[in-house]
Point group: D2
């Protein structure tokens, strides 16, 4: 199938490459041209403007945030330039508010729209094993499903309204942040009693918490290894902000999200940006002055 893919960060590049490997004819675009070369070598057609990538049957996009999505689709006018038959599959983690705007804007132009945020890091994307949330009209989802299958190990249909997929993604990332904070505080507590984070988290992540999130972040915390960032601190902060914004819109108190906000702000205020958001464990330890006390 002829499709376009725009937004070629680590995630987008890995996802697009899987579409190519599955035999699709993929036209790619990225604002900065750097990431297009490896895809070109796999057979992608590289174009110089987003609208030229949008001329196939489907357009996949994996842009960084609300601002990037607004910039490309609204400000640069991509939405107005798309053909009626085209389906847009939006993989970005965006706000519930923008999700609703996007849904309406596509509908108003007769464009099909699927919100399809994903769970998984770049290595998971490269392996084609993402979990893909998908909300949109059922028959449209069925049409794109074979392509999603090329990128993910499982597709999770979440109903018609696109923003439903986005709120699940946002709530899910909030849960990841909560898991990190709970390991951060719990291991500060055990350290203060002479049990290292490594010893403690080894027990927990081998038993009750034997799940990818805990094992992945638990390892980083156990080793105090916050660079290179798997998921960078500013992104984690942004995502907690999306949860708080979604909570604001529907009047839902989220005390734990507020707590995450403060832990992340405390980390950010030290000027560290290029670190993994599990740096929250360092914040929890610093609040207890564990290093100063030789604990």
């Amino acid at each position: 199938m002829k499709v376009g893919f725009i937004g070629l960060g680590a995630m987008g590049s890995a996802m697009a490459s899987n579409l190519i490997k599955a035999g699709h004819e993929v036209t790619v675009w990225n604002r900065s041209p750097g990431p297009t070369a490896p895809l070109a070598s796999l057979g992608a057609k590289v174009v110089k403007s987003a609208d030229r990538a949008a001329q196939g049957e489907m357009l996949f996009s994996m842009l960084a945030n609300d601002q990037a999505v607004r910039s490309v689709f609204f400000d640069d006018g991509l939405l107005d330039g798309m053909d009626k038959g085209t389906v847009h599959i939006n993989h970005a983690t965006i706000s519930v508010a923008l999700a609703g705007e996007m849904a309406a804007a596509h509908a108003a132009r007769g464009l099909d729209y699927v919100a399809a945020p994903v769970f998984g890091r770049p290595d998971v994307a490269a392996a084609g094993k993402l979990n893909i949330l998908a909300a949109g009209k059922p028959h449209v989802i069925e049409r794109v499903r074979p392509l999603l299958d090329a990128m993910g190990s499982r597709i999770w249909p979440l109903g018609d309204a696109p923003e439903r997929a986005n709120v699940v993604k946002i709530a899910g990332n909030f849960m990841i942040g909560a898991a990190i904070e709970s390991m951060a505080e719990a291991s500060a507590l055990t350290r203060a009693h002479g049990v290292s984070a490594a010893e403690f988290l080894d027990v927990m992540t081998s038993t009750l918490f034997a799940a990818p999130v805990y094992q992945g972040y638990g390892k980083l915390i156990a080793e105090s290894r916050y660079t290179p960032a798997g998921f960078a601190l500013p992104l984690g902060y942004k995502d907690v902000g999306l949860a708080l914004a979604a909570a604001d819109a529907t009047r839902v108190p989220l005390p734990l999200a507020g707590l995450l906000r403060d832990s992340l702000l405390e980390a950010l205020s030290s000027g560290e940006e290029d670190v993994d958001w599990s740096i929250m464990a360092q914040v929890a330890a610093r609040r207890a002055h564990l290093d100063d006390r030789g604990l």
Copy 2:
């Protein structure tokens, strides 16, 4: 081997029965006599005072809390009545402070002591599949290991100082509480946006959070099924209190534990005691008036 077992609640009874099934000669005692009958029918010898259960090579105890442990071992004088060769294996979830007192009191009397709190509910205990934390002198742990193996699927040695096992147990239960609160808030948020707790938690607990804790409590939350209590609200509140007490003793701020305390207090203040502590999800939903709003 001739051993004693005292404290025959749901957990203790299941654990003692596995010792019997493994061929040990088990003498049992419980303050209220009710729970002894099923064990007697398996072959246990039932005695009327704790000290008579303490006359074998080892004494296992699974009492409810600090107060019960103090009452039996200190106030009733059991500790003073034990023979020097006896090993006491204490499975109770007790405070770090009492753990330290117990360690010292045993040492002062020449008694061997192993702190061996467990992770797992009664059904896991019945299946002999507990995770058993174990702290005490290595050669003593090695001596009791065959009996622990009859009760658990894995033993986690945690060093010499008994309180190390207790702080790991306490920090672990705090992490469970945090996991529940995060599901509670996250699913309040998705509900407010039209995605039911069941839909949302199905995705999360099948993917990133595919771990026993999330799957077990997630199911309760998805179904709003808080009775019968798997782990009762007052016990969860007690355990968060143990975490806060351990944090107090070593000057470790634990904002997330404070937040759990308030959610649990809010549930308790309504007078509900005989419910599972995942009732925190109802608290989160009530704070957002979701039911009142038909969400």
Copy 3:
């Protein structure tokens, strides 16, 4: 002096009337014309567009929020229509971000600008006894001081950069919210022990906390009298949001602001909007189920 005044809510009307009473020639404008009549009867000239109110030496504005300020000054083009010599005195409680934008936009157009948010409710404004924060160029503040004196009992110069006055206003309102929450929780605690909020707050606000904020809100809490709203719940929520936004911009963790956010959201989620923000006391009492328990 010939001056303009736009934004004639309860606060703005009271402030404008004091300028008139002080002998100034005041031209007024409000988006909805209702509030202009009483001022006309005092001698104000009423105009139908904001730019016609901006033709005197000074323009005072008291608009509701960021959105209203943006709408009038940027979207409707008022800023572009003002004469170079004009001073704009902005009394609105706006975000630090917008404060900075406004300062720059005025500077770029050669307009003098004073940020002059106020502390005090409508009755205080009517009595000409506001506390007026003022930031801007010293000689400009001196020029407007006689007019500010007609509206306030004291002017607090806060330096050159306009946003300095706004952050003080925002931080001050956050402190008011904190004072309310502390009375809310403290009196929930005393009620649970048999001491009514009225008894308790009478002691506190007559002694250690004998200050206007505590006496005013304490009375509302003691009497559970949340309507009519002195300062409406949605405004309080907006102002806590301004504090959180200012904290976000400069990476300052504000756990207490997060806590206020959640208390206010909990009140808002019940659908109550037309109540005083001291309704937080009802939230604190409800969390403890005090009414249900007859406490």
Copy 4:
């Protein structure tokens, strides 16, 4: 009148001296004899055991905390040695739980008991200007009132049950802690925007918050002057603990008290004990790395 006074810290000494100056015959005792000399020089009779101070018509006590009260009245048997006619006026800040125990223990022995915790620091006590809360039988309070008047500027009768006075004292101290935290966070926020704590707090404590608590602690925060301690950090932490314990006993969520607990723990974990509890302002600034950023 012949009365006794035990517990001669800074507060107790100042209070006892005012009883002496009012013409009463005062017998004093303190566990460590140091503080008795100045009182002896004013005319106090110094005795070597608490029970000899308890032989007048009234016994005033101002002991440090629950432990000291238990030690003297229960463990050392003072309560059993008092004559039936004696009234005990207990000024200590103790837990609601102990307050209830004390009330019952006095009643069981036919002793009259008044709980009379005070608001005010040593300098206020020396000036005889304390605010004295008083709970107990009305006729007993009337009997002791002339002596309370010698020590305080105002007596606040709070009903029959002694613990009512204690919960008011505890809730009041919690409100003071909340006031400090709110100044701490608010001034961290203004500092980050270029307005010093001194500038900001000068405005606030001269206007809306013109109350003793804000002016006193505001000055310490503005000057970063945390030694010598007016009210020491560990005492503040103890008092927040009393609020949390009272909340626990009656199932009242107190999120703001939990937040104070963590701020105080963070300060304590750095090893600082001999500082004023307004050191919370330093904690708030450190969380935002304000000093590191030169803000």
